[in-house]
Amino acid sequence: MSGALADLAGEEVLLLPEHALYWPRAAALIVADLHWGKAATFRAAGIPIPPGGTGEDLARLDRALLRTGARRLIVLGDLFHARAGRAALETLAELGRWRLARTDLEILLVRGNHDRRAGDPPPGLAIECADAPAELPPFVLHHHPTESRTGYVLAGHLHPGVTLVGPAHLRERLPCFVVRPKMTILPAFGGFTGHGTVDPEPGDRLFAIVDQDILQLDPALVRGAAL
């Protein structure tokens, strides 16, 4: 299986090129920042963004679920982008069909900043919601990357990315996992998401998503972890 094996707080996990983290012992696939309905939110505001992104995101999610055999999906916040997108009928219908075909899958949303404005997902999607931090020892599930005394934090929110600078001034921008001593920050899952900035701290390890692979990067080669 392509991906990088990591040991976080004594738990073996896999960092996957599908922008997800898999925790085998709990059979849990963990993702962050899906921003469902973002394109629909733009359309509701009169900005004609083409549809199609949601389907592609769901296909990638399915690939990760299938590959890992996960029975649980944990979303570390920002499931829906905004209230308008959450209410968009075409997006909801697509998500509803997807959910109906996967009734065995347990889904937990740890609310993020966008979720507070968008509201909880419609009950039909059967998504359990909890405020951050949610404890799932040894992990503490957060949206904002906030360290915790009670466990190892898994978070999102920052949409971390890196810019690699190589010979001949060649540059590549890649989404990445930021693995810290007490926290791992996941890349944004949604395809139609901007990318934020992470200042690599000493001791951070960066795992970039390169097509279908995960590659560990030397932080010294990374010029500002902004994408």
Partner: protein, 279 residues
Amino acid sequence: MAISPILAASVRRKLDEARRGIFNGAEMAAVRPILETQARWSVLPASDELLVERVRTREGHHLFFYPVEGRLVHEGLAALFAYRIAQLAPISFTLAANDYGLELLSPEAVPLDEALEAGLFSSANLLHDIPASLNAAELARRQFREIARVAGLVFQGYPGLAKSVKQVQASSELLYDVFARYDPDNLLLFQAHREVLERQLEQSRLGHALERISGGRIVVQEVERPTPLAFALLVDRAREQVSSEKLSDRVRRMAAPLERAAGHIHFGRGGHRGFRSGG
């Protein structure tokens, strides 16, 4: 503002005069030491010659071309040359252009002889090669910024309106990617391509420049260090990229030192502070 075709032709004539030791007027007298250094380190091109300089530095393998046709034409030529060379073998370039010339910089040596033989300067197939090179260098993606704003895709909010529009903001690059992926026939994308072709690349001038180049002599100079003509291109950091290598191959070259370390890591077990690596 890039120089006009008439001014470009005059600059070529002045360079040719300098080559023959003629330095008329205060301006030419002022640049004389620089042009003489250029002649010593490389050559000054005659008006029917295209000078190509190859030089290797710590940054990589540089190819400098000096058609003296103005920056807009050079941006187009840089993308076109990079695209054509990249068709011969997997290679990656960054591009620079100014009013005098253009630069292709790559980590590996460029198969220049092969490229010249394959018709690097040919004005044939331009209708195919120019749009393909625009795509390769993502020039339309850059042009899309302006179009996205005019079309109202990038919404800055109304003046004086306090209500947040944060949830409907996205960068023009992200929008370009979304359109290119899910609505490739969108008229706004078409507009971006057309604007680059018409305004930025001045397609007819590009064709004329190629005809002029192919009608003259090509002078390839191996130089020991970047020459005075090369200098302004060398320090240009706002570079487009063209690559025929796979993303993973490009990244692997940049990230080579740590590649073997990937795969197995241990963090934060049992209150242990810091990292532990290993199997």
